[in-house]
C-alpha cells in the first residue's frame, strides 16, 4: 500500500507540472488547471489509505467545512476583489503548513522522542513554522489593506524596520537554538511568537501600490512553507509542489519589482507612499473637457489605445469600457489596450477584469509591445491610471518614479485622462502628463464618464 501511495504522489507531481506548463497559453490554461485539481484529488484520496490513519471523523469534518467555505468564497468573490482573495488563500495555505509542522513537533514532544530527531529535522520543523506563520499573518494584513478594512497607507512604528529585523533574527535564532539544543521547547515558543509577529511587521509598512509585489512575495512564501513541511515529513510531493509555487511567486515578485524599478528590499523597507508631497507645481492649469468633446475626438480617430489602471477597478468600470469599445467598433475605430505590469493590485489584475468584461485577449498588449506604437496612436484614453503613465519616470531625475518603465502615453497625438480629481497618484507625485498641451482631462467617476462618453458617441 505504501508504495502505491507513493506512485499516486508521483502522478500528482506530474499533474502539477503539466498544470503550470499548460498555463503558457490562455487556450490551454483551463485544461491545465483541471489537471492540477485532479492531481490534488488523487493525492488526497491516496493519503486517506495511509495505515497510520485510523479514524476519519475529523478528516471528514475538515474536508467538508473547508470545501464549503472555499467554494462559497470562490464563486462569490468579485473579479475586482481577486487580489485580496489570493492574499487570503495564501495565508490559509501558510497557516496549514505551520500547523502541520507544529503537530509533528507536538507528537514527538508528547512521546519524548523530540531529542531523537536529527538537527536537520528540527531545523526544518522550525523553518516550516516560521515561514508558515509569516505567510499567515502577512497575508492577513495584505488582505485587510486590500479589502480596505485598514488604511492602505504604510503604517510605521518608531524604528519600525529595526523591530522587524529583531523579530527576523529572533525567529531564525530561536530555530537554531531549537535545533542545537535537540528540541528545547522554549525555542519553539520563541520562534512561533516572533514569526507570527514578523508577518504583521513586514506588511504593515507596505502601501497600496506596492501590493502586487507583496502579494506575489507571500505567494512565494506559501509555497516555500509547503516545501519546508515536505522536509519535515520527508514527502517529495510536498517538496516538489511547494518549490514550484515558491519559484513562481519569486519570479512574479521579481517581475513586479522590476516594473517599478525597485528592489524587493526597497519595497519591503522603503515605505513608499508614507508621506504625500504636496507637489510644487503651483497654479498651472489643465484642460478640462466634456464627454461630448471626447466623443467627437474619438469618432474621428483611426485608433484608440485604452490604458486601464486601478481606478478602473475601483469604479467597477470594466463593463462600461466594453460598451465603449463596442460603440467605437461600430464607428470603425480600432481599439487596443495597453497593460502595465503593475497596473492594479496584483500581477495580471487588469487582464482578468477586461476578460470578465468579454474583451478578447488579443486586444491586450504588454508594455514592451505597445510602447513603440504610441506616436502613431490618435487618442490614448487613460482610465484611472496615474503613476504608470507619468513621463517624469523617463525625464525627471529628481522624481521618485525616475527609472520606472512606463507606458509612453504622452507620445500619443492626443491624450484623454479619465480621473476622479486632481489628487496625485499613489506615489504622491505630480503627473506632468496632465499638463501637456495635448492632454485633456475628463473629471468624474470612471464608470459614469465612460457611460456618458458611450452615449455621446452614439449621438455623434
Amino acid at each position: 500500500m505504501e508504495s502505491l501511495i507513493q506512485v499516486a504522489y508521483l502522478f500528482a507531481s506530474i499533474a502539477f507540472i503539466i498544470a503550470i506548463k499548460l498555463l503558457n497559453s490562455p487556450s490551454t490554461a483551463r485544461l491545465g488547471n483541471l489537471i492540477g485539481a485532479l492531481g490534488m484529488l488523487g493525492g488526497i484520496v491516496a493519503t486517506l489509505f495511509y495505515k497510520s490513519i485510523i479514524r476519519y471523523e475529523w478528516i471528514l469534518i475538515g474536508l467538508v467545512l473547508g470545501s464549503l467555505v472555499g467554494a462559497w468564497l470562490a464563486l462569490k468573490v468579485k473579479m475586482t476583489a481577486m487580489p485580496q482573495m489570493v492574499a487570503l488563500l495564501n495565508g490559509f495555505g501558510g497557516a496549514a503548513s505551520a500547523l502541520v509542522a507544529s503537530a509533528e513537533a507536538a507528537k514527538e514532544l508528547l512521546t519524548n522522542t523530540l531529542s531523537f530527531l536529527s538537527a536537520f529535522s528540527l531545523t526544518t520543523i522550525g523553518l516550516s513554522i516560521v515561514i508558515g506563520s509569516v505567510t499567515f499573518t502577512g497575508s492577513l494584513i495584505a488582505f485587510a489593506k486590500l479589502q480596505e478594512l485598514i488604511s492602505g497607507r504604510p503604517f510605521l512604528l518608531p524604528a519600525h524596520h529595526y523591530q522587524s529585523l529583531l523579530l527576523f533574527l529572533l525567529s531564525l535564532g530561536a530555530t537554531a537554538y531549537f535545533s542545537l539544543t535537540k528540541g528545547e521547547i522554549a525555542g519553539m515558543y520563541v520562534l512561533s511568537i516572533a514569526s507570527f509577529l514578523l508577518g504583521f511587521w513586514i506588511t504593515l509598512p507596505i502601501g497600496g501600490a506596492d501590493m502586487p509585489v507583496i502579494v506575489a512575495f507571500l505567494n512565494s512564501l506559501s509555497g516555500l512553507a509547503a516545501a519546508a513541511t515536505g522536509f519535515v515529513l520527508n514527502n517529495y510531493l510536498l517538496i516538489i509542489a511547494g518549490t514550484l509555487v515558491g519559484a513562481s511567486g519569486l519570479i512574479l515578485t521579481q517581475i513586479m519589482s522590476r516594473a517599478m524599478n525597485r528592489s524587493l528590499w526597497n519595497v519591503l523597507f522603503g515605505a513608499v507612499g508614507a508621506e504625500v508631497s504636496s507637489g510644487g507645481s503651483g497654479d498651472r492649469t489643465v484642460r478640462s473637457t466634456t464627454a461630448e468633446d471626447v466623443a467627437l475626438m474619438l469618432s474621428y480617430a483611426k485608433e484608440v489605445v485604452i490604458v486601464p489602471g486601478y481606478g478602473m477597478a475601483v469604479a467597477q468600470a470594466q463593463h462600461a469600457v466594453k460598451k465603449l469599445v463596442d460603440a467605437l467598433s461600430e464607428k470603425g475605430v480600432e481599439t487596443r489596450f495597453a497593460i502595465h505590469p503593475v497596473a492594479g493590485r496584483m500581477p495580471g489584475h487588469m487582464n482578468v477584469l477586461l476578460a470578465e468584461a468579454d474583451i478578447p485577449y488579443e486586444k491586450l498588449y504588454e508594455m514592451e509591445r505597445i510602447n513603440p506604437d504610441f506616436p502613431q496612436v490618435d487618442v490614448a484614453l487613460v482610465i484611472g491610471a496615474n503613476d504608470v503613465v507619468n513621463p517624469a519616470a523617463r525625464k525627471d531625475q529628481n522624481s521618485p518614479l525616475y527609472g520606472m518603465p512606463i507606458l509612453d502615453v504622452d507620445k500619443a497625438k492626443t491624450v484623454v485622462v479619465l480621473k476622479r480629481s486632481m489628487n496625485p497618484g499613489f506615489a504622491g507625485v505630480e503627473n506632468e502628463l496632465f499638463y501637456q498641451p495635448n492632454t485633456y482631462m475628463l473629471f468624474g467617476d470612471a464608470r459614469k464618464s465612460l457611460e456618458s462618453l458611450t452615449q455621446a458617441l452614439k449621438e455623434v
Partner: protein, 92 residues
Amino acid sequence: MTEVLFTVFVFTLSVFLGFELISKVPPILHTPLMSGSNAISGITIIGALVVAGEASTPFTTLLGTLAVILATLNVVGGFLVTDRMLKMFKRR
C-alpha cells in the same frame, strides 16, 4: 543522511524546473497563475490529513483538523476561482 540528501536533491531540481516552467507563462495569465499555484501550495493538506486521522492526543488532532480545514479552503477555493477566471479568457 541519504534521506536528507534525497530531499535536498529533489528540492534543488524542483527549483530549476519551477523557474523554467513559470518563465513561459505570459503576463496576461499572471493572476490565474497566482491563484492556481496557490491552490497547488495547498498540497500541505496531505500532511494535515495524516495528523488529523492518527491515533494521538486531542491537541494534535485539533491542530490537524484546523490544518485540514485551512488547506482544503486553500485547495478548493484556489482551483475553483482559477477556473472561474480562465473561463473568461476568450479569443473573440
